[in-house]
Symmetry: C2
Subunit: 118 residues, 2 copies
């Protein structure tokens, strides 16, 4: 289970792979089409990145004749959201609320004067 999250976060941890996800978000693309966009990279490198995404379950391959169509599967990201991001994002909101509460106290310091000058 933790292996799955390892693979997912590692897959998301490279800008090229995130770029690929964005490229196939609105519909599948062939490897060739992806390479045409990612001109700065060797075709083999693009295929290796696709392989990493595939192992993480983020890309599903459909073969059509001699073409390889790379589809996005966003379901694993939903799992990441549920287990890791959601709870921590909520934690972040909690932190922000604490800061806001502190700001209000600063704005009306007379209320906390007793505590401040120890």
């Amino acid at each position: 289970m933790e292996d799955k999250f390892d693979a997912l976060f590692k897959a998301l941890g490279h800008r090229v792979r995130r770029q690929i996800l964005d490229l196939i978000k609105d519909g599948p693309k062939t490897t060739g089409a992806l390479c045409e966009t990612l001109t700065e990279l060797d075709r083999c490198t693009v295929m290796q990145h696709l392989s990493v995404l595939e192992k993480a379950g983020l890309v599903v391959v459909e073969r059509r004749g001699r073409e390889r169509w790379n589809h996005l599967d966003a379901l694993p990201i939903h799992d990441v959201q549920k287990r890791w991001i959601g709870p921590y994002a909520a934690h972040a909101v909690g932190m922000l609320e604490e800061l806001e509460a502190l700001a209000k106290i600063d704005a009306s310091p007379q209320e906390t004067a007793e505590k401040s000058n120890a």
Copy 2:
């Protein structure tokens, strides 16, 4: 900007670091306390992991005397949520809804008979 997401996803891409985040989620801990929990790892290794988390902005260090208190800062994860996870999780929900629609069609095939037998 993409560098930030690189650092964040890479920081989250190791189970030990995710474990550390869980350990300090409900309050800061000293490096020593973390090492007592992560007994299978060398202290230096734990410190390296903390350094990765710190560079990603997920851990903020407070020094008290000779102790180092590691605080969670979940705000960067909020950014990840907004830019990467939220939109893709929504995409996943969309995929699920498409699948459900297909299931309904399967359940009442007479409604789509015209399309099916071309």
